[in-house]
């Protein structure tokens, strides 16, 4: 094969073949994941699964920005919380609203807040970007602490789950689960699409070599702002869903711990992989739950901290990234 003259058309054909087989593998993986998630509530407690899905959505959204655009935000808690509070407040106070309207409103508020954050932070590079987003998120946190409508330190309790489209009763955990799952799958597919879209190619380019992308005529700030806004919006959606599932919105969601936790989930699962954040959040939520049930319940934070350090030092590619590496090494 090496000795034959190289023909442009052949190379191209081989490439398209490879692309196709990759697409096929992606579909298979998506299908397997879908089946697993459809069956899961028959084996496991639906509320626990919904918690995982909400955090998985959070991490998938965060990864769009960090993993695929190369921007490390340390302020994503602000979007989670603004989604949660908005939805919680509206559903608690306006009984005429159906659940999905409350969720859409929460998502829109987080999206708008994301635009504000993006405009203020996007020109900063690296650690300065992280610091600006953290500072802005702290401002939002204090706003939530001071405000009446958030219930201050107590948070919002007893948010009614209500009825989806005014017909499907969401107080039933199974109904609620399949609603959350539908939203999650839609968002996951959306991010998958974004990453492989023409726009996703530009994001990749910006992440890999920003000056070069600029020299090719790309106005990189605009591309980054769009990624930030989509990421913030999906994060808000995760927060809105979470507030409906747990019927609770609290300062926990807005705390910088939350911004740190999503970084942990993403890194542990595999930065810049599609499935990584999903696996990572599943892992972290499980570890937290298992530890909190046992004698180590006061050690949750240090243990998670240890996992974080271990990941950064020894498994930089995360669970999914390491598996991919292993497969590539052993399968050719």
């Amino acid at each position: 094969m090496m000795s034959q003259p190289i023909n442009s058309a052949d190379v191209h054909k081989a490439m398209l073949e490879q692309q196709k087989s990759q697409d096929r593998r992606k579909m298979l993986l998506n299908g397997a994941l879908l089946l697993l998630l459809l069956a899961a509530p028959f084996a496991l407690y639906p509320v626990f699964l919904m918690k995982i899905l909400c955090f998985a959505l959070f991490a998938v959204a965060f990864n769009l920005l960090f993993g695929f655009t190369g921007l490390l935000s340390f302020g994503h808690a602000a979007f989670l919380a603004s989604g949660a509070y908005t939805t919680g407040y509206l559903l608690s106070n306006y009984s005429g609203l159906t659940t999905e309207m409350g969720i859409i409103a929460g998502t829109l508020v987080a999206t708008a807040l994301g635009l504000v954050f993006a405009l203020l932070s996007i020109r900063r590079q690296g650690i300065y970007f992280a610091m600006v987003t953290l500072a802005l998120a702290q401002l939002v946190y204090f706003f939530f602490v001071q405000s009446e409508f958030t219930g201050g330190e107590d948070g919002l309790h007893g948010i009614p789950r209500g009825e989806l489209f005014g017909v499907i009763d969401l107080s039933d955990n199974m109904n609620m689960y399949y609603f959350v799952l539908t939203v999650f799958i839609a968002c996951y597919l959306l991010v998958q699409r974004i990453v492989s879209s023409p726009y996703g190619q530009v994001l990749k380019a910006i992440k890999q070599n920003e000056p070069r992308a600029v020299s090719l005529g790309y106005n990189v700030d605009r591309y980054k702002i769009l990624a930030f806004v989509i990421s913030a919006g999906l994060t808000g959606l995760a927060g809105s869903l979470k507030s409906v599932v747990f019927q609770l919105a609290s300062l926990n969601d807005a705390h910088w711990h939350m911004s740190g936790e999503v970084i942990l989930m993403t890194l542990v699962g595999g930065l810049g992989t599609l499935l990584g954040p999903v696996i990572g959040s599943t892992f972290v939520v499980n570890v937290e739950y298992q530890l909190s049930q046992g004698p180590l319940r006061d050690w949750v934070d240090p243990i998670l901290g240890g996992i974080f350090v271990l990941t950064v030092l020894a498994f930089r590619s995360g669970i999914v990234g390491e598996i991919q590496k292993f497969m590539r090494k052993n399968l050719g």
């Binding site: 490439m15 699409r193 023409p198």
Partner: protein
Amino acid sequence: MSEQFVLETRNLVKEFKGFVAVDNVNLQIRQGNIHALIGPNGAGKTTVFNLLTKFLSPTRGQILYQGEDITALKSAAIARKGIVRSFQISAVFPHMTALENIRVALQAAEGTSFSFWKSGNSLNKLNQRCMELLESVGLTEFANTTTVELAYGRKRALELATTLAMEPKLLLLDEPTQGMGSEDVDRVVELVRKAAEGRTVLMVEHNLSVVSKLCDRITVLAQGAVLTEGDYQEVSADPRVREVYMGSDGSGERGGSPAEQAEAAQ
């Protein structure tokens, strides 16, 4: 009066905290020329490139492109006007394939670069042109290779193909042969010669044999200021040039000093 020049700078100055890196430079690049910018290390050549493409803002002075003042434009806008640069340190997208590198450049003109809902397969219609460009720099068989895995000379060839994908009117090349063996250098000379058909090229180049083969006109920069300008004969005969440039550097070629390795492209 300025119509015959594609690019002109007027009293261009760049100061870094009091240090004058570019000192009242007046460049005049003629349409269709291959114009060399030479000078010893630290003379300010890369800084001039950064000013022309607005990776740095001039402290003073004007930049005119086809008679139009472009001093206030942003980098991306300048690129879209047809002034496309390469970098002293090879600038590729390392985790994309060679073909994808070029496609990113072609995509800029497509108007779908914000289409986050579109399938990536919609870009396949650009593949044909990508393959042609890859072929023109001898990289056909590497179309599907991830760029980090390419040898240095091939990365630079890919960079050139990517730059050409932009169909630039004015090509700015910052040391296209730096760090290459003589075989690769000959290839690059041919590539640049081919690329220069129908365009104007401004190139920084240390290898004087390359300069003598390719360039119509040469500007010598020393300590930020223009020392002299002329064709190869005139410039190489100038004793001041020998003193600051050739004298300091013997053969006119050079290896990479540590300082150079550390120097960032921008």
